[in-house]
Symmetry: C2
Subunit: 195 residues, 2 copies
Amino acid sequence: MARTQGSRSEITGPLIRDVARSLFAREGYAAVSMRQIASAVGVQAGALYAYIPDKQALLFDLLESHMQDTLASWHDDPVNPPLIRLEAFVRYHIGFSLDRTDAVFLSYMELRNLTPENFDRIARLRGQYEAALEVILRDGQKTGAMQFADAKLTTLALIAMLTGVTNWYREGGRLDRQRIGDIYWSLVRGAVGAD
Amino acid sequence: MARTQGSRSEITGPLIRDVARSLFAREGYAAVSMRQIASAVGVQAGALYAYIPDKQALLFDLLESHMQDTLASWHDDPVNPPLIRLEAFVRYHIGFSLDRTDAVFLSYMELRNLTPENFDRIARLRGQYEAALEVILRDGQKTGAMQFADAKLTTLALIAMLTGVTNWYREGGRLDRQRIGDIYWSLVRGAVGAD
DNA sequence: GTCTATACATCGATAGAC
DNA sequence: GTCTATCGATGTATAGAC
């Protein structure tokens, strides 16, 4: 199977996604042109369409793969005490989010630029992730290790709080990741009445 | 001072801002055209430029006036105990945000579409608002009414948590505003170690 | 697989009539 | 103050050569 001259499909495909993720995060989906993406990749605009059907599919692919990664990388062990599981979730969510700030940003910033069908699919994945935290909270409530008024609201409140880290964190800043995890865990522990 | 025929400046001006705020929030600044705004207002696109210099100024005006409203409506009384002041802030922030979900959404969603100069001005206003919460937390820490590791991080974490309400709240939903305020206040009270 | 070239729509903003 | 008309730039996407 001879290679076409100039063919670099094995790197161009992923590169398009990397470039698009970065540009979308920085300037917004609607503000970024296909020409701009192509230029950063190092090809002409027309060449992009050998890899993706259209711009919308590119955005959806970025959001879907991010949500699937997020779900697939989280491992909960219901055998452990709820507080141990909650601490693991907090540290996982912060670490995972800080490793992919662009994707995290896109995943709640560009939902409105998805078609209704694509939006529903992403919302479903997001719901699954929220459920992963909610089940821990409900278990903790059951065993008496945690105390709060509403598991659903607490789930949404905690995820919003944790995800907010991506808005201000800068590599090499005042606090390292371990310390940030410690601080947020103590906030969460208090919020769920586990002191 | 005779009115020009067809002139409706006293309503068209504010209407442009209302329409733009709503459209920008729903579809994003970059995705909304001036023709779209004009159509929703009920004029032709060219007429918009009698009220605003350009699209960028329209966005900046929306964000700036929202941040100034947010700052101007908040009243803190340093004489009160820190926990009382914190509860007031929590309820104020939730209530004020839910009254203006579009503006709140824009104010952290469209920052990247501001020119650098405009961005700096909005960031400065945002910093003032964060400082309003931070001073309460530091006072609470001083008096021993609150306990947490880092006042700056706690400030950002709490604001992210509270603002998140705008992402899921729907009028006529399962919980009314009073109840939502109660639930979030108990989460915050726990987070700052005030139990 | 990538290029050049281009079709066709739409963009922000302006000019001049009324 | 608003209209019609339009400029010049830019948008997504496609066609056909190599």
